[in-house]
């Protein structure tokens, strides 16, 4: 039925809109970002939490680097998270320093944009605690997260980044974060879709302009909030 009507008439059903329509679709996507950020998002609303006994058997994970093995930190210097940009006190945080900071653990449901879910336990430092160290200036409106997974990156609105459940996570299901899930540090939050939760972090940068993202620049929704 579907083939006989509109999609076929639109010259090719695998169509992402082409030169004429795709810009309009992306414009509406930005409108939906605005609605998601300013209408449908409550900064005080916490995602439901679960008992650790409810953890899923599988927590699938993806990376963009080539090859079968997940990215690993192979530099000579010790890994550290660089916090900079529009801040009064840029700081370099090693794994040991992060683990001495306030920590938060929760068991929440992960939502992948593909449509699957997984319940797991995450432990880490709230992004808000790291932000407090660095003291972002008043004109900082976004956070950009960079990684060593072939330059995978994305940008967040500050309000979601400061959400009480947004963490820089270093433990998964009560064990140190492994290579599959973004070791040594990944962004985690139950209020955004999985592709917004950058793994293999190297830097956290406060910006005035809205950063794009690896997937977002290819057409995925930028806000990605759930």
């Amino acid at each position: 039925m579907a083939a006989a009507t509109a999609p076929a008439a639109l010259a090719g059903c695998g169509w992402d809109g082409g030169r004429l329509i795709q810009p309009k679709l992306l414009a509406i996507s930005r409108l939906n970002d605005w609605v998601g950020e300013h209408v449908l998002f409550d900064r005080d609303r916490l995602a439901p939490t679960y008992d650790p006994a409810e953890r899923s058997g599988r927590m699938p994970s993806y990376f963009i680097s080539r090859g079968e093995n997940p990215p690993a930190w192979t530099e000579q210097n010790e890994w550290a998270l660089n916090v900079s940009g529009l801040v009064r006190k840029p700081v370099r945080l090693t794994r040991a320093m992060l683990e001495r900071m306030p920590r938060l653990t929760y068991t929440v449901k992960h939502h992948c944009v593909e449509g699957w879910t997984s319940v797991a336990t995450w432990t880490g430092v709230p992004v808000a605690a790291v932000a407090a160290l660095a003291e972002p200036t008043a004109d900082a409106r976004y956070l950009r997260f960079d990684s060593f997974d072939s330059g995978y990156f994305n940008g967040w609105d500050l309000v979601s980044a400061m959400h009480p459940q947004t963490l820089l996570a270093y433990a998964f299901n009560d064990r140190p974060l492994g290579p599959d899930h973004g070791a040594p540090l990944r962004l985690y939050s139950p209020v955004k879709l999985g592709y917004k939760l950058t793994k293999y972090l190297t830097a956290m940068t406060f910006t005035r302009e809205r950063p794009g993202g690896y997937w977002e620049d290819q057409g995925y929704p930028w806000f990605g909030g759930i």
Binding site: D16, K24, R58, G225, I226
Partner: protein
């Protein structure tokens, strides 16, 4: 008794929303199938929900490309979330017209319509020779057109439940959680597609004059209105 003189049947708002909705529905289903293809199962990876899913890719294979709109997941999402706006607005305009004009009275299925529904069913099963008298719509039509509005509402509500499962967690919980809400969203689509096929078939088999009526607004056919 066939009607010789044309009778005014469908207001232009009914006709406009009908055809708009038909087109939008095709695109919503097409883009929805593209989204579904990213994870063509119900439940979680390794822990599928024990619900019937004839379109699980392990059994059905991948949804054919001609039925999918968007090219890939991002494309499907963008079509789906863009067209959701006119889809919902069209539905609300239709419902608003039904309410304000009083037209809802000839469409809403109520308990008093059960005897006529039974009589119509006997007629269609050829267990009764004469066509029961009817107004603009018989009881089975009322059942169908009431159901389709409820189905539309279900599709939209389950859609929001899986679009914002944290911000609208109360809504997602109403449907049994994210995984089940996603399932009900697909079930609504299956019923929609089945309804559309049946609807089109019955228009041509029972009363082709109703197609012209839905285009021009004037009806000249087998079933004169008693309303």
């Amino acid at each position: 008794m066939p009607q010789d003189t044309p009778v005014r049947r469908h207001h232009w708002l009914v006709r406009a929303t009908h055809w708009l909705n038909a087109g939008l529905l095709v695109l919503m289903v097409g883009s929805g199938l593209q989204i579904y293809a990213a994870f063509p199962h119900i439940g979680r990876k390794g822990e599928l929900l024990p619900v019937p899913n004839p379109f699980d890719s392990d059994r059905f294979g991948t949804m054919p490309e001609w039925a999918r709109l968007g090219g890939w997941l991002a494309g499907g999402l963008n079509w789906h979330f863009a067209l959701a706006w006119p889809f919902i607005v069209t539905g609300l305009v239709y419902l608003g017209y039904l309410g304000l004009s009083g037209e809802w009275r000839s469409l809403l299925f109520r308990a008093r319509d059960l005897p006529n529904a039974w009589a119509m069913q006997l007629y269609y099963l050829r267990l009764r020779k004469d066509h029961p008298p009817q107004g603009k719509h018989n009881a089975l039509q009322k059942a169908a057109y009431t159901l389709i509005v409820l189905l539309g509402a279900l599709a939209v509500l389950t859609g929001f439940a899986i679009y914002k499962p944290v911000q609208l967690a109360w809504l997602t919980a109403l449907f049994g959680g994210f995984e089940l809400a996603r399932y009900w969203h697909f079930v609504a689509v299956w019923v929609f597609v089945g309804f559309t096929l049946l609807h089109v078939a019955l228009v041509f088999l029972v009363d082709p004059a109703s197609l012209r009526a839905m285009l021009t607004g004037w009806y000249r056919g087998r079933f004169p209105s008693h309303d």
